[in-house]
Symmetry: C2
Subunit: 337 residues, 2 copies
């Protein structure tokens, strides 16, 4: 059935029913939710910790192509990129509002499949879908607002503006895997089944580092960002807001063996500027980062250090210890290149 046949109100009822079925009575978010989908706004009981909010758009033919993305992964990833922003603040995600725009000839089953993917991640993360909005449009747009908090009163946040010269720079997990996955899917490259599954999942089905973000806060890390634009580009955000420079030892940048094997020399470029890995990039003293390493359940790799340099400058040090000129890395919307 097409969305235009079901109508807006029919579609809202259908999606509200899905969200209702997926609610988890053990989740604090659902317990505190007073008014969910269907009223003018959503309402929940407040608490006294620091509140967090973030919004991200997931737009067809800008952020995703339906040639590559199954509908389920559109829903998963649209929510994942938002929860990743809450994770990058060290927060606990609680609620999400979903603003959906769809062409009238979209199949209703595709929309419910999208919601299924989104609800799977919401349930895994204890997030209640508290409300949203549906409009018609010429293309599919999933605009999600994620709300969260710090859990404990007066707990500090991970910001982009607290990096200090001398601190180490570290990342969770591996870099370049999502970009390798995109390249594999877009170019229809053939790899062994295990590599295919791994790369595909990294790009279509990223897992926001929610537990790791909270671990960073608990261990005393002050500065973090999630890697969405690419390592260099996102590190530049930290450097700019912290008014420092940085240097990365490229031989330390963690590239997964499957990416190294499949993409060879190109792996480094993917890792430095590929983006969309949604790993956490953070800074801290060697001692603090060692504590994080001991407690984390994912790889933590030191890749460089914060230095006093031109504000926002990110230097790359090659295997021989020389500075590399990498040109413009990371991407920006709009800018003609």
């Amino acid at each position: 059935m097409r969305v235009s046949e079901l109508g807006e109100l029919g579609l809202i009822d259908l999606l509200a029913e899905m969200v209702h079925s997926a609610q988890d009575s053990r989740s604090v978010s659902w317990q505190k939710l007073m008014v969910g989908i269907g009223d003018d706004a959503s309402a929940w009981q407040g608490n006294t910790s620091t509140q967090l909010a973030t919004v991200d758009s997931f737009i067809q033919d800008v952020h995703f192509s339906l040639d590559i993305f199954p509908w389920e992964e559109v829903g998963w990833k649209a929510l994942a990129v938002n929860l990743s922003d809450i994770a990058a603040m060290g927060g606990i995600p609680r609620y999400a509002l979903v603003s959906l725009a769809l062409p009238g000839d979209t199949e209703v089953e595709d929309v419910t499949t999208l919601y299924r993917g989104m609800l799977e991640l919401a349930q895994q993360s204890g997030v209640a879908i508290a409300g949203g909005n549906i409009s018609s449009a010429l293309l599919v747009i999933v605009d999600i607002t994620a709300l969260g908090d710090t859990g404990i009163h007066d707990r500090h946040l991970l910001t982009r503006s607290a990096a200090i010269p001398g601190e180490q720079i570290a990342v969770t997990g591996y870099l370049g895997t999502a970009a390798a996955g995109l390249e594999m899917l877009a170019e229809q490259l053939q790899f062994d089944p295990e590599t295919t599954r791994y790369l595909r999942s990294a790009f279509l089905h990223p897992h926001p580092r929610i537990a790791e973000g909270q671990l960073l806060v608990a261990q005393g890390i002050k500065t973090a960002i999630d890697i969405s634009d690419g390592l260099i580009s996102d590190l530049r955000h930290i450097c700019k807001l912290s008014q420092v420079g940085a240097q990365i030892e490229i031989k330390q940048v963690p590239v997964h063996p499957a990416v190294q094997t499949s993409f060879g020399d190109k792996s480094l470029e993917l890792a430095l500027s590929g983006g969309e890995d949604y790993e956490l990039l953070f800074t801290g003293s060697a001692e603090t980062i060692n504590r994080v390493k001991e407690k984390a359940s994912c790889p933590i790799t030191v890749i460089g250090k914060i230095i006093a340099d031109k504000i926002g400058k990110v230097n790359l040090i090659d295997r021989e210890g020389k500075r590399l000129d990498f040109g413009k890395a990371g991407w920006e919307h709009f800018t003609t290149r």
Copy 2:
């Protein structure tokens, strides 16, 4: 300058600067804001009252046309429709997150003009623009999430689901004025300057009934909705969620003399199903509504009553006291008519 020339980061800096300049140190929202635009998420000090959140899209060629809308009014109205949802819950709006999608060839000045319109309303309403997101897209999309609260702990909310048979139905202000304004602008109808100004402003520059929503709560009203789709359509939402029916005395529906004079017999249709007036539609006992009338600074008009009827049924009573068959009124996205 085109957005594509300035680039995403340049545009964010520019808009962040505008928001920063517009911040109001006397506003509680700004006082409690800990992290605003520029980090992964926004953060503010929590409180213990009920939290409210709502999201609404404002999409080019769906919700507005740039042939009719000056950029300033795109910003004003995109925020207004969201604050109206907080008002319809009886809440106090506190924060907004702005997710903007723009074609690369949009003039930067047009974007800052849009922000100027939005910031004007934000300042008037004590709302802090806490963050947002910018993407490229083929058309202009302003997706705003408004966050608010009830101010006082345990204060009740205005919902759509609390109407009871026997209650009166009332509205703030006049109905059909926004639809009259749209028709005037779209058809380039010529009226006297005062009428033109009034109709134009009703459609392009609606004032969300924030103070009135809080007044309704304080006086004991339990049920309200803002009129966005149209009187009949929005009353149907209340009836459906409250599991009741309703009847409207069409002679009571408040139409402004300027609309009556300019549109004659068509005024009633505009008032019943025109939509976008962003007035509040609410129900309550005669006694409660009389108290609201005494304290409100805008017209409050009783237009009918809640009855025990087929759930969701809205009956129209004509000037002779007979039931009218109005057909399908109010509009839905998607549905082919």
